[in-house]
Amino acid sequence: MSTTGDSAQPISGPTERGKECADWQALLERIPYARHLGLEIQRGDTGLVVHMPCREALIGNFMLPALHGGVLGALIELTARVAAQSQDTDKRCPRILDSHINYLRSAQARSTFASAEIVRQGRRTGLVRVTCWQGKKSKPIASGQVQLLLPSMGAKQADLHEQ
């Protein structure tokens, strides 16, 4: 009927994105190793972005200098985990099953960003694709696929008994 109803929708958009941003930040802050790396959530043009500020402890080759491959691994794995957890209605903490990361360009000693794309989120598993870049997003330095297992309440109990 009238278009005024439709035009109201985008106004609620930024507020929701703000809440999503706070949700991701809260999930990230619960991970001690993510805090150690200094990861933080930022709002990008096309969605949420995880930012890893550069510091000396992240360097893997001090002669180039370049970031350590494991640091990019951590950025990708933790971005995937937060993305999968934020999508889960029960906010269950996913277990990382495996990750496969391809290194595409040299990672310079500077700020690095990562964005997640949920390939599939099921009731028990999630598959997340993560892209990392430094300058332009169109020139990624690494990309990875992370497979996550979302624990059922029953499985959580079984885990505890196993120990």
Partner: protein, 161 residues
């Protein structure tokens, strides 16, 4: 102990060993080279509370194991090749078989499985010290002789920017 083990190796392996122990990220995590035997190397990390993936479960973050596998894999390339040259990780695949819980040191045993002029294929197992059960396994491919290609190109760009 490590000093006497080091003395038995070629200059290239000793230099790579020393270089590995100087890497800032490795030092941050407290990575140490335990041994080099032929084309197989062993590195360790002692768990710290800031490495947890979760404060409640006290599970070590998988990414710490990932970093350890990447560093161990890199050193295994030099142990297999016995010559110094710039290398770069092309890809790395980790399978996390069990959660890493507890305060025992994490050990990575990396082996250079195959070497060509351009590429090194590495396998790495990660275990808790004193335990034979695998925590994780990794397969990685490293590019050899990367100098003058991607890295210098990146460096030039950086200077120009």
């Amino acid at each position: 102990m490590t000093e006497s083990n080091r003395a038995q190796h070629s200059d290239a392996v000793v230099t790579a060993w020393q270089f590995t122990e100087q890497v800032p990220h490795g030092r941050d995590l407290g990575m140490q080279v335990v041994s080099v035997n032929g084309n197989q190397i062993c590195m360790s990390v002692t768990p710290q509370p800031w490495m947890f993936a979760d404060e409640d479960t006290k599970e070590i973050c998988t990414s710490v194991l990932y970093s350890l596998a990447d560093s161990a894999g890199g050193l295994a390339v030099f142990a297999g090749a016995l010559e110094l040259m710039p290398i770069a990780t092309l890809d790395l695949r980790m399978d996390y078989l069990r959660p890493a819980i507890g305060d025992r040191a994490l050990l990575a045993v990396a082996t250079c499985r195959h070497l060509t002029d351009e590429v090194a294929f590495i396998h790495c197992d990660i275990l808790s010290e004193g335990d034979s059960e695998l925590l994780a396994t990794a397969n990685a491919t490293f590019m050899r002789n990367t100098q003058g290609q991607r890295f210098q190109a990146g460096g030039r760009k950086k200077e120009g920017a």
